[in-house]
Amino acid sequence: MKKIVTALALASLLFGFANAAEKKDPRLELMKDMRTMLDAMEQIQRGGLYSSTEDMKSGVKKLQGTLKSLEGDEVKSILPKDQVYAYKFAQKTAGMLRLYSDDMITSIEAGRMDDALEDYTQLLKQCTSCHIRIRNW
């Protein structure tokens, strides 16, 4: 009996650990996404400076992969407490990032590099605009 109780306790402990690992901290996830966004922006810029459309497109793909958490309602759980009310602004920013990054792909594919670099400028503006607002920069 003692062995069974011990085994059950151990099993529930292990299950608890596994469950905790599965439930990722949304704030940590956001930080990870922000680092990925920074990488993506650097990659797009590098692509622009080295005339590599592939780098630019790959950067856009990387950037768009991070937008989901900002576009949905889960954004409320990752914003600083005093800024949760402004989640609509964060969602709007994510929407604009998607708009400009989609346009960048269209511009690259049409060979309109001036437009693509203008899209990059606007992407950067959206990033800083949101940081000014949400991080009280």
């Binding site: 009310y85 402004a86 609509k88 602004f89 709007k92 708009l99 400009y100 989609d102 346009d103 437009d115 203008e118 899209d119 606007q122 503006k125 605009s129 000014i132 607002r133």
Partner: protein
């Protein structure tokens, strides 16, 4: 042409322009710093195309119309009290100009570009972060209401004083739309006073203009004859105000 006839023509022309400045088209940068761009004189009409009468405008409601370009949104508001008069304002570049006052019998009707002077936030068919905040509604942007607030970065503008900046990061007032109210109570937009952000707006929102106006060229067409006006609540699906 005889000298006398020439002077007569010149005098008549000057008198007509003095009575109705909206006849001048183009930009005027006077030595005293006034800044005014005249566009086509356009009648403010409702969604069905019927002229809107100044006396029929609801108080403290944000109405939207596009002027002077097909894609540049403007706010029209009938304020609860008469506006200030001859307000001295300054653009981001230091150009000084004077906003005369609101129009209508009680000087309560004002119109401004709805493109925020800070980061160009503006109403779209999807959403709006900028609007007039009625006196009985609180805002985080400023201690008092009855003002225009851009909720993107909480810039506040004085609706009764030429959209002078009250708070926030906006570097200059909103450009004012110069209105005239005709004897039959109809409302007309005749020009833009102050520093507008139209070219920055066209550059920054090119992809958005493609979506909403089928292309930049259409969005950049000048409005003529009339401008359809609807309440902001009808113009944008969602209104966000902090």
């Amino acid at each position: 042409m005889e000298r006398r006839t020439f002077f007569k023509v010149m005098a008549a022309g000057a008198t007509i322009v003095a009575v109705n400045p909206s006849l001048i088209r183009g930009n005027l940068y006077a030595d005293d710093g006034r800044m005014y761009a005249a566009y086509d004189k356009v009648q403010i009409v409702d969604a069905a195309g019927n002229p809107i009468k100044a006396s029929s405008l609801e108080k403290e409601v944000t109405y939207i119309f596009n002027y002077p370009y097909a894609s540049t949104p403007c706010m029209l508001v009938n304020l609860p009290e008469p506006t200030q008069q001859d307000v001295a304002l300054k653009s981001e570049m230091g150009e000084e100009y004077v906003w005369k006052s609101g129009v209508g019998k009680e000087r309560t009707i004002v119109a401004y570009s709805a493109i925020c002077a800070h980061q160009l936030t503006h109403p779209t068919p999807n959403d709006s972060f900028i609007k007039y905040v009625p006196k009985n509604v609180k805002t985080m942007a400023y201690e008092k209401s009855g003002i225009i607030v851009c909720s993107s970065h909480l810039s506040a503008y004085d609706a009764s004083a030429g959209a002078k900046v009250l708070a926030g990061a906006a570097p200059q007032p909103l450009a004012a739309i110069v209105l005239e109210v005709a004897p039959d109570d109809t409302i007309w937009a005749v020009g833009v006073l102050g520093s507008d952000k139209f070219q920055d707006y066209f550059r920054a929102f090119k992809p958005e203009l493609k979506d909403f106006y089928n292309g930049i060229a259409q969005g950049k067409q000048l409005v003529s004859i009339s401008a359809k006006t609807v309440k902001l609540t009808e113009y944008s699906k969602e209104i966000i105000q902090y």
